[in-house]
Symmetry: C2
Subunit: 163 residues, 2 copies
DNA sequence: GTAACTGTACTCGGATATTCCATGTCCGAGTAGGGTTGG
DNA sequence: CCAACCCTACTCGGACATGGAATATCCGAGTACAGTTAC
């Protein structure tokens, strides 16, 4: 019925978030994945794979050929952290409930199968809190916070990509 | 500096929570891991491994020898879901920050290294919401909710373990 | 001089190895209880 | 009959295989620009 675990959140999520911020700072031109990877010494082809997922999710535009690359498909205000997590990790519930109550000698007890599992409910409550927090925060918030913490970061990034 | 991902929450967490509830229902006597496993058709030895961690965390008492097994070391009110998650998964932050800012050509920029990563901060905020929800809920709450949903569950479990 | 064409270099995109961690298993250490034997 | 001893069975506990997913990589498809050539 329910399946509950935590799926691993790959480090690709962190990469993707950084790239979204960098793409915003870099400006409207498309940036090749290799160049984005070079900014943080990430494996270029693997980063490309993560950016593909963002593109499929409609968060980025992908442009082939010379002068191609990736660029933001929406404004930073329209991209929540939840969107990025879902794009990379998939829409599967982080906490899947196996409903192990349905296994074993007591599985046939009628009361079990028609009543939601209290443990799944409790874990889902916690997960929903996590999701709500992610959904509230956007790339624009990250950009703003970074701007306050290190005002020159945007200029440095833009310079690096521009040259 | 920081390392941020989501570590996988093993299904062992779900098993552990179910076992805590079952141990409460079963009464003060120790229950062998094999018998707990049989209740939900779980791999006995592997479940034992998870229960070991709960014992090391002080959530369960482990008793060797005949008539041995595991029993709750605290009252259900004193065991939060967070305690169980930490016991199984370890105390590592679920979201580890790799701080990829410290890599690559811009790593030497002084401003970067002394300022907290905005992305790590945002992700940690979400994770803290998750942890807070887990910390608020206890095994006693699960027991109470299960009792409301299926009043005979406790009796059935006790009977099964007693016989 | 202009325009069409061709070739090249560069980009994404999906199919393919590799590594690592959760999962699952096996055997050893320790213990409590019962049976046995000697007094 | 009683008590001390030993032996067996049962439990946890840590060390050892296995599988699957995340990680990393390679090669093919498509495209835009530049150079070339024909008119």
């Amino acid at each position: 019925m329910f399946n509950v675990y935590f799926v691993q959140m790959s480090r690709g999520v962190e990469w993707a978030l950084h790239c979204c911020v960098l793409l915003h700072w870099a400006g409207p031109d498309a940036i090749p994945s290799a160049k984005l990877a070079g900014y943080h010494d990430l494996p270029p082809v693997y980063l490309n794979k993560q950016l593909q997922r963002l593109a499929q999710a409609g968060i980025l535009d992908s442009i082939s050929g010379p002068n191609g690359g990736f660029r933001l498909a929406k404004s930073p205000e329209q991209i929540s952290l939840m969107d990025v997590v879902v794009a990379i990790e998939g829409a599967t519930e982080a906490f899947r409930c196996l409903d192990i109550r349905a296994q074993g000698p007591t599985a046939s007890d009628a009361a079990n199968t028609h009543v939601p599992c209290s443990i799944a409910t409790a874990m889902r409550r916690a997960e929903n809190a996590w999701r709500a927090s992610l959904a509230q925060q956007t790339i624009a918030d990250i950009v703003a916070a970074s701007g306050r913490a290190a005002p020159d970061a945007a200029v440095r990034a833009r310079t690096w990509f521009g040259g």
